[in-house]
Symmetry: C2
Subunit: 356 residues, 2 copies
DNA sequence: ATTTACAGCGTGTGCGCTAACGCATTAAAG
DNA sequence: CTTTAATGCGTTAGCGCACACGCTGTAAAT
C-alpha cells in the first residue's frame, strides 16, 4: 500500500538515474543554475517533461526554510477608516500570512490616511526605508492621481499587486478586486425590483474622487438611463471635509426629493445613510442599497433599513493578495492579470452565513 | 535575517534540550506512544505548552509520507443526475484531493442512482468490500429512510461526514451543507419583492420525499403564511416515475392557475420549469426562483426566465468534505458539528463572477 | 607560459519530524 | 529463582529537496 504510493512518486533521484547523471546536475537544470552542457540539460529536461515531474513542495519548502524568507509590504488605508471597512482585507491578509507562516512569509504594514495625500505619500516613501528587504508589495491605490505618480517609483525588481482598486497603466502582477461598473448595474437591477420600476432614486457620489466608486455609480445610472418611469438624481458627499458627510447629505436628499423610493451608496459608509433615514424618514419606504459587510451596515441590514448589501469578498481579497504574491514569487507560478471577486448579494436572510 | 527566522522556530530538538531528554522521548509524549514515565511526560508537556509548540507540518508530512496514506470513500449520487448537479461537489472533491495529493490523500468513489433504493444499498455495501482500507467516508444520504438504517452498519472506527443532507441521529464528524429552511425563507423574501407582495405563487415539492428539499419548501411557505395578498399553492413532481416530471407538472400549473406570479423550485431541476414557461407562457411575467448553478439553469437565468438562483456553494461543499476528513483524521483537528455554507443569491448580473 | 575564469559534475549536509531499533531496567509470570 | 514481557529512554536512518563545497578540465586573458 505504502510501497505503491511511493512507487508513483517521481523524485530527483529517479530522474538522475534515468538521465545517468547525479542529482546535483538535475538540480542545476531545474533551477537554471547553469554549469550543465546543453546536451545533458536537454536530455534531462526531456525526461522531466515526460515523467511530468513536480517537485515535492513539502520537501522543497522544508529545505528552503533554512535560507529563504519572504517579506511582503502592505500599503493599505488604516483599518478603522470607512466604518472599519479596511479591517476586512487586513483580516484576510493576516489569515493568509498565518497559513503561510511555515513558508516563512511575513507582512509589514504601511498604513495611511485614505483621505490625506500627505499621509499616502509618507507611507509610500517608508516602503523604501524598510529595514527588511521587501520581496513583494500589496498596494491599495486610492487617490488615483497621486498613486499614479508614485507607482512609477517602484523599482522594477519589486513586484506588486493591487488590492481593491488599481492603476490602469502599470506593471502590477495582478489586480484583485471587483468589476465596479458591473457591480453598479447589479445594484441597479435590485433597486429596480425593489421600487417596482417607478419613482425617484438617488445615488451618492463620493469626494475626493475615486475611480472605483465612480464606476459603480456609472453602472447604476446607466441601467436606469432609458427607464422612463424612474428619475435618477445624484449627489456628492465630501468625506474629506466632513466624516459625517454621508449622514448630512442624506438629510438634504430626504427633504428635497419627494416620491423618493431608493438611495444607492457606492461604498461602505452606507450605515450613515441608514442612520439618517431611520431618524427622519423611517416609514417612508426608502430602499437603501449599499456596500460591504462592516458591522454597522450589518446592523441596519438586519433592522431592515438597508435592503441589500453588495459584498466584494473583502476578506478573501486580502487573503488572495498574499497568496498570489507567494505563488508568483516563491513558486514562480503565473498569475492572471485580473482576479475578479464574486459580487455577493446580502440580505437580512442570508447575512448570518457570510460570517467566516 | 534567516538566522532570525530560525531562532523563532521551536523544534523537538529544543524541547528535548530544555527537558533534558532525547527527541525520541519528546516524540513519544507528543504522540502518546507510551514508554515514558509520568514524571518526564508531564515535564515535557509543560514545556510544550509554555513554548506553544506547533509541529512543522511540512517536516511532519514529509516524514509521514514514507509510511502513511489516506483513503477516503465517497458515497454520492451519479454526477450526471439532477441536471448534472452532482458534478459540482465532485469537482470540489477532486480539487481538494489534488491539493492534498502531496499528503497522499486518495479518493474512492461509490456512486449510486439517487432515485433507486437498490442502487443506494448496493453502493453502500461495496464500501465494505473495498480492497483499499478506508480511513474516512463522505456520505450524501438521500432517500433518508434507507440511509438511516444503513448508516448504523458503519463500524465505529470508520469516521464519516455528511455532504448536502444529513441524518439527525448519527455519529458523523460533521455535516457540510446548507440551512435548508432558512434558504427557503430567503427565496420567499426575494419572491415577495419580485411579485410586489400580491398574486398567486406555486412551489413544487419533490418526490420521492427528501427532507432537505422539503425544508426549503417549508421555509418558503411559512414566510407567506400571514401575507393575505399572496396565495400559496404547492404541487408534487415525482421524479422517480418520470425524469421530465418537473416539466410536465409545470404545464398543468400554468394552465390551472390564473394570476400566477411566481414558481419556486427547491432543487436543481429548475431549468425544466423554465423550459416549460418559455414554451407556454413566455410573456406571462411568471417569476421563477430555483437552485444551484448547473449549466441549464445558468442558461435560463441569463435569458431572464429564471430570476434568481440560490447557490449553496456546491463545489466548496465537496472541497471542504475532503479537507475536513483530512484535518480530523490526519491532523487530529476538531471539527465543528455543522458547517453551513453561505446561500449565494445569483442573478444574471453576477453569475459570471461565480464561475471558479 | 602562466594565470584566471568558469563550465561540468559529484558529494554531503541540513530542513524538522517519525518510527524502528537497541539496550537497559523493572515488573509479571512461570 | 528464572524466564519472559513490559517499560523507559537514547540513537539514528530516512522523507525529497536545495545548495554550498570541492574537484577536474578547458578556454580565454595576461
Amino acid at each position: 500500500m505504502c510501497a505503491n504510493a511511493l512507487k508513483n512518486m517521481i523524485t530527483l533521484q529517479k530522474i538522475a538515474q534515468l538521465a545517468n547523471v547525479s542529482v546535483g546536475t538535475v538540480d542545476r537544470v531545474i533551477h537554471n543554475r547553469g554549469r550543465v552542457s546543453q546536451k545533458t540539460a536537454d536530455r534531462i529536461k526531456r525526461i522531466i517533461k515526460e515523467l511530468d515531474y513536480k517537485p515535492n513542495i513539502l520537501a522543497q519548502s522544508l529545505s528552503l526554510s533554512r535560507t529563504r524568507e519572504y517579506n511582503f509590504g502592505v500599503l493599505v488605508p488604516k483599518p478603522t477608516q470607512d466604518g472599519r471597512y479596511w479591517e476586512l482585507p487586513v483580516k484576510g491578509i493576516n489569515k493568509a500570512r498565518e497559513e503561510l507562516n511555515i513558508y516563512r512569509v511575513n507582512t509589514i504594514y504601511f498604513l495611511y490616511d485614505k483621505y490625506s495625500e500627505i499621509s499616502f505619500k509618507k507611507a509610500f516613501t517608508k516602503i523604501f526605508q524598510s529595514e527588511k528587504k521587501l520581496d513583494g508589495l500589496i498596494i491599495t491605490p486610492v487617490l488615483s492621481q497621486t498613486a499614479q505618480d508614485l507607482i512609477k517609483k517602484i523599482p522594477p525588481d519589486l513586484p506588486y499587486v493591487f488590492l481593491d482598486s488599481y492603476i490602469p497603466q502599470s506593471n502590477c502582477l495582478t489586480y484583485i478586486g471587483e468589476e465596479s461598473y458591473q457591480s453598479g448595474k447589479l445594484a441597479a437591477t435590485l433597486m429596480d425590483i425593489l421600487i417596482n420600476s417607478r419613482g425617484t432614486i438617488a445615488a451618492i457620489k463620493v469626494r475626493p474622487k475615486d475611480n472605483h466608486l465612480e464606476d459603480r455609480v456609472k453602472g447604476f445610472r446607466d441601467y436606469f438611463k432609458d427607464k422612463t418611469n424612474v428619475t435618477f438624481k445624484s449627489f456628492k458627499a465630501n468625506r474629506k471635509k466632513d466624516v459625517r458627510a454621508f449622514y448630512n447629505i442624506t438629510r438634504d436628499i430626504i427633504k428635497d426629493i419627494d416620491n423618493l423610493k431608493g438611495i444607492f451608496v457606492p461604498n461602505s459608509t452606507t450605515y450613515q445613510i441608514a442612520e439618517c433615514v431611520k431618524s427622519y424618514a423611517l416609514d417612508s419606504g426608502i430602499n437603501i442599497i449599499g456596500y460591504d459587510l462592516v458591522e454597522e451596515n450589518i446592523f441596519y441590514l438586519k433592522k431592515g433599513i438597508i435592503k441589500f448589501l453588495i459584498s466584494q469578498r473583502s476578506e478573501l481579497q486580502g487573503y488572495m493578495c498574499i497568496y498570489s504574491l507567494y505563488k508568483n514569487i516563491a513558486l514562480h507560478e503565473k498569475l492572471k492579470n485580473k482576479i475578479m471577486m464574486p459580487m455577493d448579494i446580502i440580505t437580512k436572510d442570508n447575512i448570518d452565513y457570510y460570517h467566516v
